[in-house]
């Protein structure tokens, strides 16, 4: 008995794949492009404020002083209070409360306000496309689920998936080239892309699914569901104002000697039953952290169980690090950059294929040229302006994007507009790196600042050289003819 996908099913799957790809292609392109950059979130935060002192050392007494200072200065606390401890990928301690965050210096005083508008722009664009928070997150997660639909329909549509696994036909026939580029990047990146789609879908769809699970398994009690997955609130003994962070950190060392402290959440800050939640990374797992809970005096209470509990808890709490590649070494980050860029290219090449098959050129081609290269160019223009007026990055981006679309429609020459926007993107990359160097200097800056600026400059130089090479080879070909 032979198993296989019928030609008819394959054809219909391809039709559906094309339809859905066209329907959500632009949105997926935005999410994938911003997601690729968002992989470098921690490095970008350090790049935006490069003069903050960096160290992996910290004293619990100093951290406690910073917490006290924050309580005195802020008065009423309306949010969670979280203290991020220094780690190799973010060697800075900072404290967040009431929607603000401050870096903590060696002496335990709150220093610079943590501010990174460019990174925030990228993160918000990726997570919610600048839509209102809850709706935007759900919307982007639905895009993650639709990416799964595209992946599955793409596999069903591709009858020669193994036979053509290593075929790439370059040369002048750009339809074949686009098709091969689309298929080869998709097929070999499939496990990664599927993981990105499934973990991406979780962020916004987890909520509605939890509501249904609460109905089915917890008699409608969502609190009970969250208690079982994320841990019940512990019974913390009364707190007599003698917080001992040092004792908590020392106890953690005994309870989980291999775990690396990552953050401290002060639950019910200033209340009688205040308790501490110490997030600690287990470097042999994908979970963001295990959460060890202590009373305010630093006595160990319990652990939620992400590391040693049920497999389901581990799976749910592994989503973040898997989605953003924050595990392993810098090589994993670089791999995620390449794989993310491949997914972005897949989105673009899929729509390019549709354009290639059309017999005509119209305004849609103009808009598409503006979307593909207008997006990075608009983002870079907004980021540059953001050095002067950080609060205006979002409107500046959308303003620049509308302008690039209008320009493309006005010029009615998508090929030329695409060329101009590409060169503009490369030049804006150079301008961004140089502006940041002029503003912050080069000496006494964080290694991330040097790495990101070197990366930006190298990328700009590579893009410019590639465009020059392409232009020269095109001219040589036309001279031969």
């Amino acid at each position: 008995m032979a198993f296989g996908i019928s030609r008819k099913l394959s054809k219909r799957a391809l039709q559906g794949h094309s339809w859905l790809g066209l329907a959500v292609g632009v949105l997926l392109y935005w999410v994938c492009l911003s997601g690729t950059v968002a992989v470098l979130g921690n490095e970008l935060v350090r790049w935006e404020q490069p003069n903050v002192a960096e160290t992996l050392e910290y004293s619990p007494a100093a951290l406690q002083r910073a917490y006290r200072q924050m309580l005195q200065e802020q008065g009423d606390i309306s949010t969670l209070v979280t203290m991020r401890l220094p780690t190799p990928d973010m060697p800075r301690a900072f404290l967040s409360a009431n929607g603000n965050a401050w870096y903590i210096d060696d002496a335990g005083t709150l220093s610079q306000t943590k501010s990174h508008p460019i990174t925030d722009f990228i993160a918000e664009f990726h997570a919610q496309l600048h839509l209102p928070h809850t709706f935007g997150e759900l919307f982007v997660s639905i895009l993650g689920a639709l990416l799964t639909v595209l992946i599955v329909s793409g596999v069903v549509a591709h009858r020669r998936i193994f036979k053509d696994a290593f075929t790439f036909r370059g040369g002048a026939d750009s339809s074949l080239k686009q098709a091969d580029l689309h298929n080869r990047l998709s097929v070999w990146g499939l496990p990664f892309h599927l993981m990105i789609a499934l973990t991406g879908a979780y962020f916004g769809l987890g909520g509605p699914l939890n509501t249904l699970y609460a109905e089915a398994m917890y008699e409608g009690d969502k609190g009970a569901l969250f208690g079982e997955v994320f841990g019940e609130v512990p019974d913390a003994p009364a707190y007599y104002g003698k917080m001992d962070l040092g004792h908590a950190l020392a106890s953690l060392d005994t309870v989980a000697p291999d775990a690396r402290p990552l953050f401290i959440t002060f639950e019910r800050p200033g209340e009688d039953d205040e308790f501490l939640l110490l997030g600690a990374q287990h470097t042999d797992m994908f979970i963001y952290s295990e959460q060890y809970r202590f009373d305010a005096m630093g006595n160990y209470l319990d652990a939620v169980g992400f590391a040693q509990g049920h497999a389901g808890q581990e799976a749910i709490f592994s989503v973040y690090r898997l989605h953003f590649g924050h595990f392993g070494s810098v090589w994993i980050l670089l791999s995620y950059l390449v794989l993310g860029m491949a997914l972005t290219v897949i989105c673009v090449s899929g729509i390019n294929l549709w354009f290639k098959k059309r017999q005509i050129t119209d305004a849609l081609n103009d808009y598409w040229a503006a979307v593909v290269w207008g997006t990075p160019a608009s983002f870079l223009s907004a980021a540059l302006a953001g050095f002067a007026i950080p609060s205006m990055i979002v409107p500046l981006f959308w303003g620049a994007f509308v302008m690039s679309c209008s320009y493309a429609v006005y010029k009615r020459d998508p090929h030329r507009v695409s060329q101009q926007l590409r060169i503009m993107t490369a030049l804006l990359l150079l301008a961004l790196a140089l502006t940041s160097i002029v503003l912050h200097g080069w000496k006494d800056t964080s290694p991330a600042f040097i790495a990101i600026n070197s990366g930006i400059i190298s990328l700009a130089v590579c893009l410019l050289s590639y465009f020059a090479f392409k232009k020269a080879s095109r001219q040589a070909t036309s001279n031969l003819k």
Binding site: L146, V149, T167, G170, A201, D284, V338, A342
Partner: protein, 186 residues
């Protein structure tokens, strides 16, 4: 470090074996090429096992996925063919036909509604309706459901796109929705 590197090396060899195996087609597809394909598939789990000795199984799987992907792309770049089939024909420039686009809007909108909110909601109900009955811990059922729901969505969307008998599709879909809702709320 040594086991991780050995694992990555084995993954590279596995990809090269698959390359050798799949490159041959039709009459050229000898026993040797089938052997290469078999060796390629076999070496992938072996490489995961070797990396896993040092890095743990979770990281070993991640390393294998990334390595297979990169080594395959490098092989493709190396083996790419250059065909010069002549210049592309210049296409006619036309004004965007807004009237035709507007006329086609309603069927497109209906497809979008069927594929996105309808298939999505049905997938959520089917997933929860089935997974909460599984004989595992509740947390494990929940996690399994959260990660399989988009795949069930994909299956339903594919069914919607491929089914030629629309009446059967609507009847089966409605029955599925009713059973799942009963399973969730009853």
């Amino acid at each position: 470090m040594i086991f991780t590197m050995a694992g990555i090396l084995l993954t590279n060899i596995a990809t090269i074996c698959l390359y050798r195996g799949w490159l041959a087609e039709g009459a050229n597809k000898s026993k040797a090429s089938q052997g290469f394909t078999f060796a390629g598939w076999l070496l992938i789990p072996v490489s995961i096992y070797v990396s896993g000795l040092e890095s743990g199984i979770r990281f070993a799987v991640a390393f294998a996925i990334i390595t297979v992907c990169f080594s395959a792309w490098l092989l493709i770049v190396r083996a790419r063919t250059q065909r010069h089939t002549g210049r592309e024909r210049a296409k006619h420039r036309k004004a965007l036909n807004w009237r035709a686009a507007a006329q086609g809007l309603i069927p497109q909108l209906l497809t979008a509604i069927a594929l996105i909110p309808v298939c999505g909601t049905l997938a959520a109900f089917v997933t929860v309706g089935i997974t909460h009955l599984l004989p595992f811990e509740r947390v494990n059922n929940l996690a399994l459901g959260i990660f399989t729901m988009p795949l069930i969505w994909a299956g339903l969307a594919l069914w919607y796109m491929a089914e030629t008998n629309r009446m059967r599709l609507y009847l089966c879909g409605s029955l599925l929705a009713a059973c799942s809702a009963f399973s969730v709320y009853a």
